[in-house]
Amino acid sequence: MSELIYVPASLLRYRSVEPELSARVIAPGLSGAGVIPKMSVDGGGLWTIAFGEIQLSTPAHRQAWRAINAMCDGGVNKLIIPFVDLPHQPWPIVSGKPLTSYDTIPHDDGSLFSDGSGYVQSVIDAEIVTSAALRSTSLRIRMNYSGGLMGGEHFSIEHPVMSHRMYRIGRVVERDDGDFDVVIRPPLREAVSGGEILDFDAPKSIFEPETPGGLNIGTDIIGMARPSPMLIEGFTSEMLA
């Protein structure tokens, strides 16, 4: 039994980020005609995400990071990492600007919580239209409130067993009824049914540090820590049972 730990998006103020699907391709070498035939054996790839210089500038940030590092137990417990990608997600355009978040949302009588905070709600509203089987790579999705899809966006689905899994849109075809047929990578980790929510605001996936000490930070003399962790997609034993 292992625990899943949410990493808050506000902690991940990175200087660079690179989420990529790792591919294991076996190349047998150059043929006489100069062609390199390739053989892929990974069945669709595994997410890796490389953060560069996450800015942990306040003691609260560093303590939160240390606490997560402690609870992660060197990768035994997996992390739920949100990948907030402001420039590239299909935000709805409101008065000429992309709307990336709502202000604090109060209770229905207009009051906030006692500490002055309100509710949080995701902006982009998207769902799956038709169900798809395990390892499908094409989905029909409906964007209820969003900007246009171009390809290259990420979204995640919270599966019942596999938990949050991130997917990347590779090809988009808009249908006459306004829905989108998209081709995604990697293949679906679990079957989905119509009406399931797509998370475009902060796509999440389960990750673990590449090495047991991968989340360690060193704090410099002026009180800054800039870890650059490398994370790979993880599965708990319950997910693979």
Binding site: V35, P37, S40, V41, G43, L46, L134, R135, P186, L240
Partner: protein, 202 residues
């Protein structure tokens, strides 16, 4: 054996191949070389279909030959990305449970959209022999320790050349036939004693 779509995929120059590994213990171990789960459907061994788990990875599918002129071979499958559960199976009392079990290796071709183009083709069937664990030794504290599990398998003919790792002890006999008490008292025998037989008369 291959259908038209599979021949077309092989013509393309780039291949997407999924390896499958099946070990008929209880419960049956079903692994494949990719990520996540896959349902390859009905095939020659799984008559009703089953889920294969992308189990870390089978690091090395060993090269194997067909049995020609009775020359037997033995191959080792090495598995990395081993979870604690599998380590427990490999290291404790369950390790002998693999002995003599059917072990099959197969492959299937995938199309451009990562969908299987046909059923799994089982190309080799072995008899499992024993499990071993290997762990790298490191002198640097920072280096991660890597463990791999190795399953040694052979064909029916392999056993003639190399005896299996089993003895006439009660435990081994009970594993072969659970109710057999034949070797129950072998522990009572004393070793290092030579029995004196009566001399044959001159």
């Amino acid at each position: 054996m291959l259908n038209d779509a599979e021949y077309a995929a092989l013509d393309g120059g780039s291949y997407r191949i999924a390896y499958f590994f099946r070990l008929a213990t209880t419960p049956i171990v079903r692994l494949w070389c990719g990520i996540g789960k896959i349902e390859p459907g009905v095939n020659a061994i799984d008559e009703t279909g089953a889920v294969y788990v992308g189990f870390g990875e089978i690091t090395d599918i060993p090269a194997f030959r067909q049995l020609i002129n009775g020359q037997a071979e033995r191959v080792d499958f090495t598995l990395s990305g081993v979870t604690p559960e599998i380590l427990q199976v490999a290291s404790e009392a369950d390790a002998p449970a693999v002995k003599g079990k059917d072990c099959a290796v197969g492959f299937a071709l995938m199309g451009d959209d990562w969908q299987l183009l046909g059923a799994v083709k089982w190309i080799r069937r072995y008899t499992a022999d024993f499990l071993g664990i290997s762990q790298t030794v490191t002198e640097n504290v920072q280096d991660p320790i890597m463990r791999t599990v190795t399953l040694s398998v052979g064909s029916l003919m392999t056993g003639r050349r190399r005896p299996g790792l089993s003895y006439f002890t009660d435990q081994d006999q009970k594993r072969r036939s659970p109710t057999d008490r034949f070797c129950e008292r072998t522990t009572l025998y004393t070793q290092e004693r030579r029995k004196k037989w009566p001399k044959v008369g001159d």
